[in-house]
Symmetry: C2
Subunit: 411 residues, 2 copies
Amino acid sequence: MAASSARAGARARAAAADVRMQGFAERSSLEEAYAWIDAASSAVGPEAVEPGRAVGRVLAASPAIADGEGVRAAEDGYAVRAQDTVGAAPYNPLVLALQDARGGAAPLAPNAAALVVAGSALPPGADAVLAFAAAQAQGGAVEVLAPVAVGAGVERRGEALGTAAKLSPGRPLRPHDVALLAALGVARAEVVRRPRIRLLVAGPKPWAAGPVGDACGPMIAALLARDGAAAEPCAASEGRRGLASALSGAGGCDAVLVIGRSGVGPDDEAPLALADAGELALHGVALRPGGSTGLGRAGRAPVVLLPGDPLACFFGYELLAGRLVRRLGGRDPALPHPTREVELTRKIASMVGFADVCSVRLADAGAEPAGAGEEGGLAAAAAGDGFVVVPAPLEGYPAGARVLVHLFSRG
Amino acid sequence: MAASSARAGARARAAAADVRMQGFAERSSLEEAYAWIDAASSAVGPEAVEPGRAVGRVLAASPAIADGEGVRAAEDGYAVRAQDTVGAAPYNPLVLALQDARGGAAPLAPNAAALVVAGSALPPGADAVLAFAAAQAQGGAVEVLAPVAVGAGVERRGEALGTAAKLSPGRPLRPHDVALLAALGVARAEVVRRPRIRLLVAGPKPWAAGPVGDACGPMIAALLARDGAAAEPCAASEGRRGLASALSGAGGCDAVLVIGRSGVGPDDEAPLALADAGELALHGVALRPGGSTGLGRAGRAPVVLLPGDPLACFFGYELLAGRLVRRLGGRDPALPHPTREVELTRKIASMVGFADVCSVRLADAGAEPAGAGEEGGLAAAAAGDGFVVVPAPLEGYPAGARVLVHLFSRG
């Protein structure tokens, strides 16, 4: 504990130091960065939305559903008592009287059948729905050509209620979950409000080919949308003073992401601006790419400084900022990508002491580094199907190792 | 060939027949329905969008990128000739003259170093970037504390160009693909236009608990968004005549989905309305749930009739309509869900002759049917993590079988 707080103190001093043209004297581990993020963030408040707007949203409270049992037809056909159909066959049709059951209130008489459509209530006494294919209408009667089992073609509201009751806070609502809520008559669902994320683009590097925001902004906005947040892009902020002022004015949002100027170059003033406007808690993470990511606060809003290099920005978001955003949105903070465990067909080399993110290509035989020997940087990621995170203590993975591939988000 | 066209003729007659209160005399196989969909649909035309609007879109043509080689710094540091750093060590620092390289035009002199930031051009002659951590600035000189390899800290535009050239038509652009295009200076990308899908909700069933559109509409709109299409919801159309009129007026869109009234109940008039307005090509598929799905055309627009029961509507979209929508959008027509191959811990029972879709729950030990014995219908799907498709010839899968689970879309 004492060692850990001494280390935290050393890190705070390191964060306060000017790393420009020096490099990082000390870096936080990925786990230390996660601990800071987790302490700095929790789910924002709820809002009530109608089911039609709830797809993809996270439940903040279990849905309020009117209680009450009920039985409805799951398919079109005739509501019957199953026992009245026992022994029926094409060569031995049983005849049931056709009863008008519109409204569903009148009980079904013995040896009677009532026309129902999928979704309608069953008349009391009926316990199954006979499909038209197994019946033959004959004037005011119905010939039953096959027996039907109790419960066939029937849906119990209680079953749907039971499942809906298990839709508990924290669950992201899928398209068919929302249909279930609507079918149960839920008018509004309490969901976690969409976190509002301010996107600040630090001014373009004077020597670089183009403005960093052009390449990173749309990418980060798409990743924010994937993680259920609303991006609030701002105009580029020029210099340390302009950026500090923009950070100070970020009161109304739930978090701020700054793109660019987070590194160790002479013009990398984002960390200084954050220290001016609030607190730079942690700068420099033992992560490659994305190692110049910084964390801190401006007012009550947590702030993530993302590198301006597109690849480093990408993995800085995926490995760090995304966790903060998902926590604010009440979502599972873990990496959201579908995963696949596969065998490496070529080794991955990595630097000890750094969590190394390696883009990989998938083939039938397994996975191989996407960049090795031919492509680097963003090109390797664009050529890849997903990424592997090599933990800091390892030098990499040999060919033949089984690794967990996180598949890149599709859109 | 003769047998298959005789069968197609029989299906056309079956599609023309009124199935209300009779059931389907004949059903198309899933494969026959796919063949109709594939013949009726191809990718809609292209449009040019800026990279910031291209995430999630499908490339219609390889991006046009200005040619030209170039070398840029991948990190902040000093541009050097790698050979000038051989032998450097903390106890044996090598001294290089610090050269001003702003603009990147002046060649790097031998035994010199030039300050660069990530993204800037390297001065001619430089072949590596020395990180600040391995250097020590001393007035007008730089002490090199460690050797650096040729190509370290350097990114070649040619590599990015090579990858970008492999971004071929049909590829959905991921967030970092778009960043690569922007970084290469692409101003506009040719992408497939978003298919415009008219959503018609057939009037509520008079006996049912609520309007079917309320439960199905938002679900289908969310699935259309997942598949890259733009939903154009319309007001409910009342009766056979109202629906036929709405179908006849669907000229401007790329396809129409009709929700509800597709079944064999007395009020299921959607198939008749489609026959009135254009062509009902196929009605009744050997699929459960979703078997009352119909396919046809109104004018030039392909039309899918989806069942009004939410679960049947869901799987009718996932197994049939979604394929049409993805083909119109130039996407892979196959099921878009992430998959996982797992062992069944309980058997799945299914009806021979039908492609049976079974919702399953995943646990560490494997997968089990989500509905078995306790929940049915939509409740089972909401309780599940994904679904398994049992092919028509099988009676199901025994416990212990390895099955492919399609994971439900998250939002």
